[in-house]
Amino acid sequence: MTDATDLMADHPVLLATLAVDDTTCAPPRDIEQFLAGIERRAFRLAELALGHREDALDAVQDAMIKLMQYRERPALEWTPLFWSILRRQLTDRHRRNAVKRRVMGFLGRKDDDRDDPLEMLPDPFEDPARRHADSAAWKDLGRALRALPRRQRECFLLRELQGLNVAETASAMGCSDGSVKTHLSRAMSALRTHLEDWR
């Protein structure tokens, strides 16, 4: 128990993450705590959707700046608002990247999709084999998700990975609960085909 308390004291971000993610807890104390708790998952979600680290960081930054305009709203509204803003950011960047890729292809230049060297640094506390397996699985998942139609991808990311409930997902996506269920069902079906090795 003491160890857990010490861990919390040493890692305010972890504490914030638990406070935000656990629905039984009170809403975040302030916007700082909310953003601290959500930033890592937001970044990973953006990375999966865009397949590019810098783009993902930019999308999260823009989403945070936009959310600050709504900081006077009740804390309970921040979660659907933030994911809704981030979803729009990802959609815009997806379109922009598609145009960029087309232009680059037309000009005969290859878009820069190298792995980030920082990501390649080994973690001394982790089993290298497991890290390698996770890295490969992460890439497979990203590829499969980016191959999905936009609404299905958004639905899977928000509902399945971020763990929003159906109503929150519908609010973030600007559609009905029924549409969320339909998109999710189709996304799962498509992913089952794309991720054959995961069965």
């Binding site: 979600l45 930054q61 700046i65 920082l118 996770d134 399945e160 990975l161 089952r192």
Partner: protein, 126 residues
């Protein structure tokens, strides 16, 4: 476990979904230090940006009130001309006419009473 079994279909879907969620949770928790620092800076920048914006927004009404008070003060403080604009020139003109008329009457009176010089008077003087 054939391809038409709906239960196996659901199980494989759930397994893939669970695995994806676990992977996502692990990846979010195990972020490299450089990216975690970038995220922290991004968060602080967003908040600083919002604070600066908020301060500017709060200063705007204060500046408006100050400008209004200054304008009202200037209007109050500047000397005002109480003479009605349309009446003033007419009144001044009438006063000047009356003055000239008074002067004319005095001159005519003096001319009438003044001794007239004659040739005898001139000779006597010589």
């Amino acid at each position: 476990m054939n391809g038409h079994d709906p239960n196996s279909h659901d199980l494989s879907t759930n397994a893939a979904s669970t695995r994806a969620r676990d992977l996502f949770d692990r990846a979010s928790a195990r972020l490299d230090i450089a990216t975690a620092n970038r995220l922290r800076l991004i968060r602080r920048d967003a908040q600083a940006d919002a604070s600066a914006h908020g301060r500017t927004r709060m200063l705007m009404p204060a500046a408006t009130v100050a400008a209004t008070v200054l304008a009202v003060g200037l209007v109050w403080w500047l000397p005002r001309d109480n003479t009605p604009a349309h009446i003033a020139p007419v009144a001044i003109e009438a006063a000047q006419d009356a003055y000239i008329a008074d002067e004319d009457a005095e001159v005519y009176t003096w001319l009438a009473e003044a001794p007239v010089a004659t040739s005898n008077a001139k000779a006597g003087a010589l």
